[in-house]
């Protein structure tokens, strides 16, 4: 009985008891969720355009952040360092297309998936060989002061992250819907062969998608790096983005955002109200369980394309 109360009644009483605290938890959750979305976005872009489940996205975030920090440590001004990192990510996209994807056209999805894990190893090793593996602080001049709104503590940095995520999504939406390249990307996502037959260059499209994913990775890297330092564990946030991904659906940009928010909020609430009951640190698996429960009802995620099977 005690246990039932502790699971089903007490947490809700706690929530009702101090709504301000609950609001704070929710806001922290939303802002963390935004950060997850940023990483998940990179996955979605590549999966949409090439059907590759890119496990290396997390390491690309790390790689971008490492390059940026490495350049800044050598005295390059921030704006130039960011530009140079973008160039590096584009170069990386070229290399990936040339040396990996091109040879793996028409392979099973699982082979491509494993290849991206191999890629993750390579990038991690190269990044750490070039820039060293110790923890680095990243400071690109994002304000980081706290202030209060209606008794709720907010952090300028988190708001900045949320704002830049919103801008990024808006830009991507415009890019996908109104530019020629964007249309071509959607065409490729729809049907590779049909896209090829109307003269869309598949290889170029892949380079573009991987470059865009690299850019999104850079933004995510800046945000996460500025918050918790640039280090190897940064690549592990990819694991946090995966439940976001299946929750939202692999093929949906809005899904990545909404999924990120649900996971972020759900995780924080669970950790704070139910965590102590279970011995803490449930954040690691809670997101996956949450996503699993969602999937049982909607196997394609919240916004994923409907899976139609024919014999």
């Amino acid at each position: 009985m005690d246990l039932l109360t502790a699971v089903f009644v007490a947490p809700f009483l706690d929530m009702a008891g101090s709504p301000v605290f609950l609001a704070e938890v929710v806001i922290v959750g939303v802002l963390t969720g935004v950060m997850y979305s940023l990483v998940a976005l990179g996955f979605v872009l590549i999966f949409k355009a090439s059907g590759v489940f890119n496990f290396a996205q997390g390491v690309m975030v790390l790689f971008a952040a490492l390059t940026l920090v490495g350049l800044m440590e050598r005295g390059v001004p921030v704006w130039l360092a960011i530009l140079m990192t973008i160039l590096v990510m584009i170069g990386l996209a070229f290399a990936i297309e040339r040396f990996m994807l091109r040879h793996l056209v028409n392979q099973e999805p699982i082979i491509l998936f494993m290849a991206t894990i191999g890629l993750a190893f390579v990038l991690e090793g190269v990044g750490e060989t070039l820039w060293g593996s110790n923890v680095k602080a990243l400071d690109v001049g994002i304000p980081n002061a706290s202030f209060e709104v209606g008794g709720i503590l907010l952090n300028e940095f988190d708001l900045f992250a949320a704002a830049s995520c919103a801008v990024l999504v808006a830009v991507l939406a415009v890019f996908f819907h109104y530019t020629t390249i964007g249309r071509a990307l959607r065409a490729v996502a729809d049907d590779h062969q049909a896209a090829l037959s109307v003269g869309i260059p598949l290889k170029t499209i892949w380079v573009i998608v991987w470059s865009v994913a690299g850019f999104v990775g850079l933004v995510a890297g800046i945000m996460w790096g500025a918050r918790s330092g640039v280090q190897f564990s940064l690549s592990l946030i990819a694991l946090k983005a995966l439940p976001v991904l299946i929750l939202g659906g692999f093929t949906s940009v809005p899904g990545a955002i909404v999924g990120g928010l649900i996971i972020g909020v759900g995780e924080k609430i669970a950790e704070i109200y139910w965590g102590p009951l279970l011995g803490g640190a449930i954040e690691n698996w809670f997101a996956y369980m949450l996503a699993l429960v969602f999937l049982v009802f909607r196997p394609q995620g919240l916004f994923g394309e409907r899976i139609i099977e024919r014999v």
Binding site: F53, F99, I110, I111, N284, Y288, L292, L295, V296, E309
Partner: protein, 357 residues
Amino acid sequence: MIYREAGQFKTTYTADQAVFPIVQDRWFIAAVAFLALGVPFVANEYWLQVVLIPFLLFSLAAIGLNLLTGYTGQLSLGTGGFMAVGGYMTYKITTAFPDLNILVVFAAAGLISAGAGLVFGLPSLRIKGFYLAVATLASQFFLGWLFNRVGWFYNYSSSGTITAPPREILGIMVTGPEATAEVRYYVALAIVTVMAVAAKNLVRGRIGRSWMAIRDMDVAAEIIGIRPFRTKLLAFSISSFYCGVAGAMLVFLWLGSAETEAFDIVVSFDVLFMIIIGGLGSILGSFLGAAFIVLVPVLLTNAPQLFGLTMAIDLQKHIEVVLFGSLIIFFLIVEPNGLARLWQITKEKLRLWPFPY
């Protein structure tokens, strides 16, 4: 010329249905068995401990995952979690019942991990492909957390480590600090041989065929009368049984003591690499893949000394990682069907060689 079945006539159904119908294959297996039995006489402790024992236990885990991913087509990233169930449950059972034969304990722990596989396999009835792969990560993280947090599983020891207690079979020390590497090697070899033969026969029979039908297209398989519910869950539980026993071997026959880190997600990925590089849907491939993944890091670690190079340790570590990743990409590009396919091609070539016309 060397590998040719001409002149080998089968006169009974039993001969026709043999696992290795061709006499050259049987010789080959006999040679491998001879080598496997003889190797402790020539290899030193280092080789047994660093290469051969991990090779055997990872082969077993790879066979387990191959049954699930290669034969039934259910992509799983939870191997490490199921191996952890095996390891921790063996510890729990053998400390509770010290007199029980350790092999029985291994089997019991395998059964418990089969149960865990059954539970975490349930979502597979609704979700497929990469969605399922990510969903199986839930088992990986949840089980890792469980064994880390709940003291009951490691008998409330202060370090949170499980240590293999000394156990003997027929008066010979098999686990614990006093067991010699040779003994542990032979025990591992015996377990792996028995289970590999069982797996080989399993996939040839009705169950294996229903698995492959589900893999090739589950909707179609359902229409011809294969129950997806039963078949998929059976695959999950048998696969987890294999992984569980492998996990038990990892703690008791290889490392001697372990924490949950020994079963983290890296292990799951390694085992997945093994079956992809070895060959999906092939028992032989599981062995080849395990050999590759176990041997390559050992070679990479020792290579600089062979060439007389000295490097800073962290630099060497990074280069190792890069080389390992590049090798994986290279192999996937050159032979996406794995080493087992290469072996098959070699055999085809040998049929005609040296007179290819």
